[in-house]
């Protein structure tokens, strides 16, 4: 009842607000109102106001956006009898309205995200049987060994936990391929992984044919297993020990729960982060999704399955005959289907797995193309807005998630819109300089303010725009192709095990340089027009400013697509853990400083010790967290030096003698999830709009130069393109 009254009042207030917004007031009046709105929003933002104040602040922002929409709709469209202006003008209008609609959906989503869940759910007595699926297609055994070992290390009664290696690279179909070398490779893989699985006490499973890609593989796993809950880890997603303890209890609390999703935490930077060199101090791109959007979705019971790092209920999956496989993003599609059947989902905002991101720009784009195409397929085939069984809020949430991937269209339009005027003298946006200042500038500023207010800790100013621009160049054709032929795209596994040893241009960087050149030419046109048409200076300046903004993104993108050589092969994680280090036959007390999947750095405390010789095979002994894990493992000394005080530092690589040793590596590397949270929290700070903008401009200027430098170097050395040198071995 109170809800209905609230809703009625809300409707009335909205009606009044709309009446105010659609008054055809003068430009000056709008400017004053917009200025006040903006000032108040800025004050609330600076004061980090939360709760009611937060929504009031967002209300002020919405006010300006709505005024802009009213003005844009009623006064800026070119007349219909000038088709050459009207058509591009209307397209620009459409993509702007799309952006506004997306803003509205985002506001709805993140207006009140659920806070972090503090206590562990459920009772300790509730320990249902769990099947852990690790689907693989082409990942190497070493990577899988760590993931499987980490899965085995999870803190859970051993008799209730079964780990499955679902190998799609060694199917009967692959092994009997007509291409003999591939068939042999598949055969070898089948044998190697079967052995690995046996060594680690993991069940190996493959199937006849590679049907329905990942979804088919998982469904095959479902058929062969019978655990009450199902956990999915991608081949590179190694879980922390407490993964199950943090998640399983929710299934006890809610019998209609089908999913507990956890964030994907990555040990390495994505290619753009790496190329821009921001990994250490700026939040990663995905953190906005996992840190905020999923929490917002969770409020509306619409948090969806992201393919890995999640626990699902078998009973629910059986309700929809397993994982759905119409689209190439089976994860979200499955979640949509189950939400539609009345099942619930929960999101736990705590990194409990650590994974790898694609290393090259090309594979990054490959991954994003899959997501974009898959989400488009869901939009087309599943039509979340009209799907039965969903609540209205859930519909909006899924619309937001899928429609987001249309961003290549507005990005493209914003990129080319100034060119219509600069090169072809078309007036696709009717407005004077003063109107532009009063409406468009305030609108843009408010967008930035709101973005910073909402996402500031997770996403720094202009970074969204940069990522969208960088993806747009290759995603636009991908999205258009899926719209023309929705069933065409097929599942492609994203490569994550590449590495870049030398700085070079990405193999798909050419379009970025072409766009940059066009925008530079457009800036030339701005100067020319200012000179020959002084009467149109205000319009030219506005359009020129717009083009300059595009140019800054395009320039920054040049650096973003120039791959930066990365010296360290694997990301190191700091751990402070007591151990014993064996030199010769004696064991010495030591402390592990940091670990990577390849090796570790140890400080050995004994004043008699001299730095060790590289190449020595020594051993390390640790007390593992779980039972069944060997406590000793051979290590290969790479370098050693006199450390502080009485210690020596020893850098060494793991020298696992058997598969089981990987459990110790996993124990060292993935045991503690708290450190991942700490690492993320260290980057989650809001620089504010001004500092963020300045920092972005700095990055953009530097990256433009860097990109141009590598391009010129590439042109200068007119030698044929060499294949990428293989990564140097032996480190």
């Amino acid at each position: 009842m109170a809800k209905a009254v609230n809703f009625l009042i809300w409707m009335l207030v909205s009606l009044f607000v709309l009446t105010l917004v659609t008054l055809p007031i003068s430009l000056q009046t709008h400017l004053v109102a917009a200025f006040l709105c903006m000032a108040l929003l800025a004050i609330l933002k600076v004061m980090k106001a939360e709760g009611n104040w937060r929504l009031i602040g967002l209300g002020f922002g919405t006010a300006i956006v709505l005024r802009y929409v009213y003005w844009r709709t009623t006064s800026t469209l070119p007349p219909l009898n000038q088709l050459e202006n009207f058509i591009p003008g209307f397209l620009l209008y459409l993509v702007e309205m799309y952006s506004v609609a997306m803003l509205a959906l985002s506001l709805f989503l993140v207006s009140m995200p659920l806070p972090e869940k503090k206590k562990r759910p459920g009772t300790t007595a509730y320990r249902p049987t769990v099947d852990v699926f690790v689907p693989t297609y082409n990942e190497d055994a070493q990577l899988l060994a760590n993931t499987l070992a980490a899965a085995k290390n999870m803190d859970y009664p051993a008799d209730k936990l079964t780990v499955w290696l679902l190998d799609d690279g060694g199917t009967v179909q692959k092994r009997s391929a007509t291409d003999i070398p591939s068939a042999r490779a598949a055969e070898r893989r089948h044998a190697e992984l079967s052995r690995l699985a046996a060594d680690l006490d993991v069940k190996y499973l493959t199937r006849e044919r590679n049907e329905h890609a990942k979804a088919g593989n998982l469904n095959n796993g479902l058929k062969q297993s019978e655990g009450e809950l199902v956990v999915v880890f991608d081949a590179d997603h190694a879980p922390a020990r407490d993964f199950l303890l943090e998640t399983v209890g929710y299934f006890e609390e809610d019998p209609k729960l089908f999913l507990v999703q956890t964030p994907h935490f990555f040990l390495n930077p994505d290619p753009i982060e790496r190329n821009l060199n921001t990994f250490g101090h700026m939040p990663s791109e995905n953190e906005m999704f996992y840190g905020l959007i999923q929490r917002g979705l969770d409020k509306w019971n619409a948090s969806f399955f992201c393919g890995s790092a999640a626990v699902l209920r078998r009973e629910a999956l059986q309700d929809t005959d397993g994982f759905s496989g119409v689209s190439i993003t089976e994860d979200c599609e499955t979640a949509l289907a189950l939400h539609g059947r009345g099942w619930n989902s929960v999101y736990v905002d705590k990194p409990l797995i650590a994974g790898l991101q694609p290393a090259t720009f090309a594979s990054f784009i490959g991954q994003r193309s899959r997501w974009a195409q898959g989400m488009m397929q869901i939009l087309i085939f599943r039509q979340p807005l009209f799907k039965g069984g969903l609540t209205f809020a859930q519909r909006l949430c899924y619309m937001s998630s899928t429609l987001f991937w249309l961003f290549p269209f507005p990005r493209t339009m914003f990129l080319i819109a100034p060119l219509f005027y600069l090169f072809f003298d078309l007036e696709i946006f009717v407005g004077s300089g003063g109107e532009f200042l009063a409406y468009t500038m305030t609108y843009m500023l408010v967008n930035l303010l709101m973005q910073n207010y909402l996402y500031g800790r997770f996403r720094w100013p202009w970074i969204s725009e940069l990522y969208e621009y960088v993806q747009t160049v290759h995603l636009l054709p991908a999205v258009i192709s899926v719209m023309l032929n929705p069933s065409k795209p097929t599942f492609k596994v994203t490569a994550k095990d590449e590495s870049i040893t030398q700085s070079r241009l990405s193999e798909i960087s050419a379009p970025f340089f072409i766009i940059f050149a066009i925008l530079i030419a457009a800036m030339g046109m701005v100067v020319y027009r200012l000179y020959v048409e002084p009467t149109k200076a205000d319009v030219t300046l506005v359009v020129g400013g717009w083009n300059l903004l595009n140019l800054i993104f395009a320039g920054c993108a040049l650096g973003a697509v120039t791959e930066r050589g990365d010296k360290s092969a694997a990301r190191r994680v700091t751990v402070k853990r007591r151990c014993e280090f064996k030199v010769g036959d004696a064991w010495y007390p030591a402390v592990i400083d940091n670990v990577s999947v390849d090796g570790l750095l140890v400080h050995v405390y004994d004043q008699s010790l001299a730095p060790l010789k590289a190449g020595n095979i020594e051993a390390i002994r640790v007390k593992p967290y779980s039972e069944g894990i060997p406590d000793t493992m051979a290590v290969n000394v790479v370098r050693s030096s006199k450390g502080e005080g009485e210690a020596i530092s020893v850098g060494c690589t793991f020298a696992p003698q058997r598969a089981l040793d990987h459990r110790l590596i996993a124990d060292l590397m993935f045991a503690n999830s708290a450190q991942w949270s700490e690492f993320q929290m260290g980057r989650r700070r809001n620089p504010g709009l001004i500092r963020g903008t300045l920092s972005f401009l700095g990055i953009a200027a530097y990256q433009t130069n860097r990109g141009l430098y590598y391009m010129l170097r590439g042109l200068g050395s007119a030698r044929p393109k060499l294949p990428v040198p293989a990564p140097a071995k032996g480190r």
Binding site: L23, A63, T535
Partner: protein
């Protein structure tokens, strides 16, 4: 028999018959045959000159009728034209022989490529090279028979002017040709100037050599009580019939000393009052209401019988005079809505009156498709707006431009739109290889529009390479560069309608609120019934009647108490008005004692000296930076900090400046039931002269706001905008209108909007929070 019947008819239904031409044409308004035997002779259509060849000396002023309704007509720029109507009697139309323009032009005009032409009723009479820079030359053009018609004739004077040497746009501002009214006239074959025979002929009253149409009312009993009402009624009736562009009414008790063939003399009074003054007063005036023409008593040509005439409004009793006067009123057609404002007498055709959304092609405004070979083309048209027009703060009209430009036109060319002399929009013409603009929308702010007649000017400024080089002969090149098509449309959006007060613009433009139907007649308060005050009041009443398009019922009251709580006009010298009344009008009562005492320039210079020093002293601190912000806002966004106020501002008491000869002020009556308009001056003479000057077409529409002060030295009107505005609904309630009213009100009261806006969204934020709390998953 016939005459008896007619007399009966006249007594009962004169107004119905008189204006309707044909029947009346062969008959006299009332029987004056015994007194004026000569009057019967000229049959309709036959020029009087044929029948009166014997007159030995004919006063030239009776042959030459001035026709320019302007003090001076200046045709400026490269192409300029002006159309207006000249009304003639049937006799005059038939007897007109030539039309003469006395003109003088700027020395820089190249005669070989410049032309002055005259067109009457779409027949071009001829043209001449413009070549009279050193003196005034008369251009006399014969008028072919049949071109002029009885009643209104559209005269168009057009000038095509090119510079001798210069091709710059700036040089086009140096091109002018002045047409002098005193040397411009239509010549009749007979002394017919000032000779009127029909009631409708009143429209043919000629202006004088200064473009003024002077109406002299001779009323021997003007000072007696009750006669003021009649005088005002007469002045209004005459104004509506004569419709001069610059019209003055002078009231006097005796005969005017000099003979005037232009203008109109009217005798008002009972038969006994007028008998001495008008020897030719018809005998019927002693028996019943008398309305008709008599020979002008003081005219020397009167003896020939064909001279100028005067109008007599008389009767045996004041009541009969009143009846005669009523017959003079034009037939009331109050039922029909006004669709146009009568502007043809100075700018033909009449301006259409737009009362809501309208889209009119330029051809509707009397404009034709025009091409130009020059560099600056200007054309203008008139738009009428209702008195409750309330959209100047927010509204935008649109000009859907149909035009073409040649490939010679270069970037930098533009179309400027002016509204009432203020530039409102500049639209660059996209250049390149020529172009055709089809309904290109150009927005123009409604900020400079006001109730009444508005002038919109379209000016095309064309930049070309030829002009940059300016080789010999370029100024006069003949290849058209720009064309403006008459299919161009003026689009007025639906606008807010609500009456505001004080609003002198609505009063001068549309006679609001006096022109509307009211339960009680508007009160008129005069300081004293002197000739000057009565003249000023009559001039004002006449002008207001023209703005209203109908007579305004006025009731003279003897004391301020009689003003009650109704609409009122107050006319008088400031010193003679009751101080309470002056205070009510928010005019400084102190000015009653000292206004006009001091030389006009003694004090006026003092503040400006301080101002000039203030400008030189660069200040510091908050005040200074605030003013800098203010200047920047004003310059770039047309926004001033003064507009940002919350508390209702009260009107300050207005101190009339020394330089002012006459002020008009408007305020509410004490109980806010009526709107009072004051016209006052330091001296009675100033009042009469000032009113005559202010009601002239050139100044009348400049009156606006709460107070308007006329400075006749500079022929300017200074206005003071009201701070405290009262709104009075005029339209039936509709959401659409109220929405637009709100838009305009909010655009005027900016901070109110801003605060309301903020509050609304803050409430929305709070209620949304509450709503969201209750929806979805709970927190914690």
């Amino acid at each position: 028999m016939k005459r008896t019947l007619l007399a009966c008819l006249l007594a009962t239904a004169l107004p119905a018959i008189l204006p309707t031409g044909l029947a009346a044409q062969t008959l006299k308004p009332f029987d004056m045959t015994p007194e004026r035997p000569a009057d019967v002779q000229p049959a309709p259509g036959i020029p009087a000159v044929v029948t009166a060849p014997a007159a030995p000396v004919i006063d030239p002023t009776t042959l030459r009728r001035p026709f320019l309704p302007f003090e001076k007509l200046t045709l400026a720029g490269e192409d300029d034209r002006r159309s207006f109507t000249v009304s003639l009697t049937a006799e005059q139309a038939a007897a007109a022989q030539t039309i003469t323009l006395g003109y003088q032009n700027a020395i820089v005009i190249a005669p070989e490529s410049s032309r002055l032409s005259v067109t009457i009723n779409n027949v071009t009479l001829g043209e001449t090279p413009i070549a009279s820079s050193d003196r005034v030359t008369g251009l006399a053009l014969a008028i072919p028979a049949g071109v002029l018609q009885p009643g209104a004739n559209v005269v168009t004077i057009a000038a095509h002017q090119r510079h001798r040497t210069d091709c710059t746009i700036q040089s086009t501002f140096d091109l002018w040709t002045d047409i002098r009214p005193q040397e411009s006239f239509i010549t009749f074959a007979a002394p017919l100037v000032g000779r009127l025979t029909q009631l409708n002929d009143l429209a043919a009253v000629a202006p004088d050599g200064k473009g003024r149409t002077a109406i002299t009312i001779v009323a021997p009993a003007m000072a007696s009580s009750g006669s003021a009402d009649m005088l005002m009624r007469l002045a209004q009736a005459l104004s509506l019939r004569v419709h001069g562009a610059n019209q003055t009414v002078t009231v006097r008790a005796d005969l005017p000393p000099v003979t005037q063939t232009s203008g109109l003399t009217v005798f008002l009074g009972t038969q006994s009052e007028l008998a001495d003054l008008v020897p030719t007063l018809p005998a019927s005036a002693a028996s019943g209401p008398a309305l008709g023409y008599v020979p002008l008593p003081m005219a020397t040509a009167g003896s020939s019988g064909a001279g100028p005439t005067a109008l007599v409004v008389s009767g045996p009793t004041p009541r009969a005079v009143q009846t005669a006067l009523d017959r003079l009123l034009p037939p009331a057609d109050a039922a029909t809505e006004r669709h146009s404002l009568a502007t043809a007498s100075f700018h033909a055709p009449d301006a259409p009156l737009l009362t809501g959304e309208a889209k009119l092609a330029l051809s509707r405004f009397g404009l034709t498709t025009t091409e130009t070979t020059g560099r600056r083309m200007r054309t203008e048209f008139l738009v009428g707006l209702p008195d409750d027009f309330y959209a100047s703060a927010y509204g935008q009209a649109e000009l859907l431009l149909d035009a073409a430009y040649s490939s010679a036109v270069r970037p930098g060319s533009r179309v400027n739109i002016y509204v009432n002399g203020d530039i409102t929009t500049t639209a660059p013409i996209a250049a390149g290889s020529g172009g055709l603009m089809q309904h290109l929308p150009i927005r123009l702010s409604l900020r400079h529009f006001a109730p009444g007649v508005n002038t919109v000017a379209i000016e095309a400024v064309l930049v070309t390479d030829e002009d940059a080089v300016c080789a010999t002969g370029t100024p006069a090149q003949t290849k058209p560069r720009f064309a403006l098509f008459d299919t161009t449309e003026f689009h007025m959006p639906d606008f807010a309608r609500i009456a505001t007060s004080p609003n002198l613009a609505a009063t001068v433009g549309m006679s609001a609120p006096y022109g509307e139907d009211q339960p009680r007649p508007t009160a008129l308060y005069l300081d004293r019934p002197t000739a000057e005050s009565l003249s000023a009041a009559a001039t004002l009443a006449g002008r207001l009647a023209m703005s209203a398009g109908k007579p305004i019922p006025l009731e003279t009251v003897g004391s301020p108490e009689g003003l009650d709580n109704r609409n009122a006009l107050i006319v008088g010298t400031l010193a003679q008005l009751p101080p309470a009344l002056v205070a009510q009008m928010k005019v400084a009562t102190a000015a009653q004692a000292n206004w006009g005492d001091l030389p006009t320039h003694a004090i006026a210079t003092a503040p400006s000296a301080i101002d000039s020093w203030r400008g030189q002293v660069s200040g510091t601190g908050l005040v200074e930076s605030a003013s800098r912000v203010n200047n920047w806002l004003r310059r770039n966004l047309d926004l001033s900090l003064d507009q940002l106020h919350i508390l209702p501002q009260s009107e300050t008491v207005y101190q009339p400046p020394r330089s002012a000869d006459l002020i008009m002020a408007q305020a509410e009556s004490p109980q806010a039931g009526g709107i009072w308009t004051l016209a006052t001056a330091p001296t009675p003479k100033d009042l009469e002269r000032g009113m005559a000057a202010l009601t002239a077409q050139a100044l009348w529409n400049k009156v606006s706001g709460r107070v308007a002060a006329l400075d006749s030295q500079t022929a300017t009107v200074a206005t003071l905008a009201p701070q405290d505005i009262r709104l009075t609904p005029t339209q039936p309630f509709s959401i659409g209108n109220w929405r637009l009213i709100a838009a305009n009100w909010m655009s005027t009261n900016i901070l109110y909007f801003a605060l309301l806006f903020l509050a609304a969204f803050a409430i929305l934020g709070v209620i949304t929070t509450l709503l969201l709390r209750g929806l979805g998953r709970r927190h914690g």
